[in-house]
Subunit: 521 residues, 2 copies
């Protein structure tokens, strides 16, 4: 049994660092960037370390408790106490660092990571990130590296085609286009700012109000707090969280009522966010019905499909996109479940001028001929920061390295594994499955209530099952609370979430997790 | 003369991709993550490509026009028109991609890049980014990878010590602490939201107003637009841009007057941003004088030292930090001029609760024991996005690999080169130097006005000199407009900016740039 992960050319130092050998009087020791041969050697070793790590996660899972067992302060205590006077060899720094941090790593790349949502990585994505770091360009303007902007436009159009998105979101066929944001949270802030600007341009007075379901991601409320639309998380007059039906999808009629109520009260409905695949339980709002309401009142419709959007690479899952042609913006995160490492959220808008007119400022030192001529896209006007990395590379590398078939095969396999897991739950009388009819890659379930058990007791038992599973280190799941776990009952109940979507997850890992859960129950 | 950059193991494909060889019936071709040997080979080759690229930038500059000469659409036209049906070998994808994009790259890593501001990278930083991508953890909560949070806290404290920052910004000795943001723009949004929350908590009515100098970075106005404090870039009642003195530093007395005027008018002064090293011309606001005004009126003081802050690693440049002990927040970007690749902005706050109380929302699926116990820092509450990369690794690797001496040597050399360049300008009667008495790494200059030349004509001549220098491809500078180029004259005049701070820049490159400029004049 090998010790893990192997460190082919790196060794962990056993003694404190010593200053480098004295250099001739008047000269100075070469800095790391003056020694590129060292970089080659260290880089090769690190690539091997990563390949070894990914391999070991699959072959020696008992060496990698999926959820870190570190206690607060453990990692900090193992780190070097100071910045050294003289630079140290990278191999030494790396060895020491990985020694200190690995016990504090929760292994999101473990094939037995079923918590929260996936945070995919993959060989071509990592190489894309590496290439981007090596080029080190800042793509804030088209002019500051035309390739950075043009590859992004090109690849986002291709990805939209691959996912069957409406033509209105493509540069090549519309006034719209796509942009890579860091996260769906940032996308929400950007479109909320644009939606508010549109209100102002229409001369609508009244305090702006945004809408989403009770099941929408917390980033929508947070965006409202950041943009100043909401005064805090409890400002329910400014962020209306619309109730959901038994499938945890927003009630369009309740949305309609809320909007009409606000209009009557002199407030200004600003933006509705529909969610395709909620984080909590993968519920799907009815975009078609919601869009009809938004159009009637001229309200910005944003559609957030952060994780589930990846499934649209397969035609059979595009049912969720019905009505998207009426949305103003749409985003999903290839960094969740489409093999691109964090960060890569793809935001599409139907009217790019709505974004840029809300976000653009041009100080003199950024003025240039290409921008002034209006011939190019300057992505800094599409995002919160000014600077930006060349993130399109990793997305491009993934799309080209997997191909359409490879991506579909990847998604379909995870969805098959989720169905398999759901079947296991269904077949076991000790457990209860939350409706899995819109089968995707998240399975919600819980121990079946015992006869006479109070609902609160079931919740406690559910949480303690979770703690027991996670403490074992062989699988990592998380929980949530949702309504309608019991048909007809809108009370919030605790359920476990089995989120299947890690790059290396295979059938054996899902079956092993089920074994662990059964044993723990 | 080598062809560039060498591609040791990658070849550019000459024929279109073909589908992979058929696999046995019922089986499917392995996906890239199922073939880690390929990843090793490709990764080694890419590391070598980067080392070759950095070497070639230095040894064969004539192959790399610093500013890309690409025309709009050039890059897009060279890219593959579609996502292939079947995945393609990475070597083929990479070869084709670099062939298409390299003519569209503006070489920020060129030693002759003197435009905008530096966007450093370095071997340990690139390896840190690579390591982070391979681990693929999401550090949104302490619990989702304790190492990600604890290394960040640890390293930000160490960096604060290295830069001589006030104790109030260290986790270890105060109620404050540091966090890595993507950019100073995001940091500005976060602190503005916190400052507004503080106003609300104090029950201050009135529309909030933020203050900065006319020379502050555009991100301050943009942050005001995003947070909804300003209705647009021209909302001068909400963002007061205070006039500057002949050194382009904010007039504290004018700030005081503006605040008193707003208070009298029933508005609510919310936040003042002082800049240490403006982007436009590296002017330094007087933090001590500004802080006195802020304290009197209980206004949040944010200090933005995005580029120049790196110089504080050298004690002799800490004069700029005088008064920082009275600030509420401070940020600088190691991704500009401290050898860490983008993105890495370090934001320090004196009162971490002010940030988290303004930014925190906790949905059920993120609840966990460590957070509930208040024993840990959850960085998602310190930033706009929920998810976050393990960015502390690259910062840690840089600090440990260069050491205190290496970092100081690096900064001092660039500042020496800037002085050398300033001396060249001063010694040449055809040129005019903008005051360089607070010598740092940016030199502003222009051609000396000819006898009888109108100021507008000098501006045109300055811009055409710039275009001529940049078109040659041997150096890349940018321009700005600033007041007081002519002593006593507040009119904005065009000047060239020689920004010295690229990782590989040496004396020869600065001298060569000066030769190019002289020849072009």
């Amino acid at each position: 049994m090998s010790s893990l992960p192997k460190r082919p050319k790196f060794s962990v130092p056993t003694a404190p660092s010593t200053p480098p050998a004295p250099t001739p009087a008047g000269s100075v020791a070469p800095l790391p960037h003056e020694q590129l041969d060292t970089f080659r050697r260290d880089g090769h070793a690190l690539i091997d370390w990563i390949a070894d790590y990914w391999t070991a996660l699959q072959q020696h899972p008992h060496h990698f408790p999926v959820m870190s067992a570190a206690k607060p302060g453990d990692v900090a205590a193992a780190l070097p106490t100071s910045i050294p006077e003289y630079g140290r060899p990278f191999a030494e720094v790396f060895g020491e660092t990985q020694h200190a941090i690995m016990p504090g790593i929760t292994h999101w790349q473990s094939p037995s990571f079923f918590a929260f949502f996936p945070a995919n990585t993959s060989p071509p994505a990592v190489l894309g990130e590496l290439f981007s770091a090596g080029l080190g360009v800042n793509g804030m303007l088209w002019a500051t590296s035309p390739a950075c902007t043009e590859l992004e436009q090109h690849v986002l159009d291709q990805l939209a085609g691959l996912c069957g998105l409406p033509q209105k979101f493509l540069f090549s066929s519309s006034t719209g286009g796509g942009v890579i944001q860091g996260t769906a949270s940032e996308a929400a802030v950007v479109v909320m700012v644009a939606a508010r600007k549109k209100l102002a341009d229409r001369g609508l007075a009244g305090k702006p109000v945004v809408y989403c379901s009770t099941q929408a991601h917390s980033s929508i409320v947070k965006a409202a707090m950041i943009t100043g639309i909401a005064s805090g998380p409890d400002d329910t007059a400014s962020v209306r969280q619309i109730p959901v039906d038994s499938a945890r999808a927003m009630y369009p009629t309740r949305l309609k009522e809320a909007i009409e109520h606000d209009l009557a009260a002199g407030r200004a409905p600003c933006m509705v966010t529909a969610t395709l695949g909620t984080t909590s339980s993968l519920a799907f709002d009815d975009v078609l019905a919601i869009a009809a309401i938004c159009r009637k009142h001229n309200i910005w419709l944003h559609v957030d499909s952060a994780m589930a959007g990846a499934a649209a690479v397969c035609p059979e899952f595009r049912w969720m996109l019905a009505g998207l042609e009426h949305a103003d913006s749409y985003c999903f995160n290839p960094h969740k479940w489409l093999l691109v490492n964090f960060d890569c959220d793809c935001l599409y808008v139907a009217d790019k001028a709505a974004i840029t007119s809300a976000m653009s400022i041009t100080p003199e030192y950024l003025k240039n001929a290409a921008s002034a001529a209006g011939a190019v896209v300057d992505y800094r006007d599409w995002q919160i920061p000014l600077g930006r990395r060349f993130r399109a590379l990793k997305l491009h590398f993934v799309l080209q390295s997997y191909g359409i078939n490879g991506l579909r095969q990847y998604i379909r396999e995870h969805i098959r594994l989720a169905s398999l897991f759901a079947d296991c739950v269904k077949a076991d009388a000790k457990f209860e499955l939350v409706d899995h009819s819109r089968a995707m890659n998240l399975v919600c379930f819980r121990p079946r209530p015992l006869t006479g058990e109070k609902p609160e007791q079931t919740d406690v038992r559910t949480k303690s099952l979770l703690d027991s599973v996670n403490a074992g280190g062989r699988a990592y799941l998380t929980h949530t609370v949702i309504p309608y776990v019991v048909p007809g009952d809108p009370a919030l109940r605790t359920v476990l979430r089995m989120s299947i979507g890690s790059t290396f997850t295979q059938e054996q890992h899902v079956r092993a997790a089920w074994d662990v859960i059964q044993t723990a129950c």
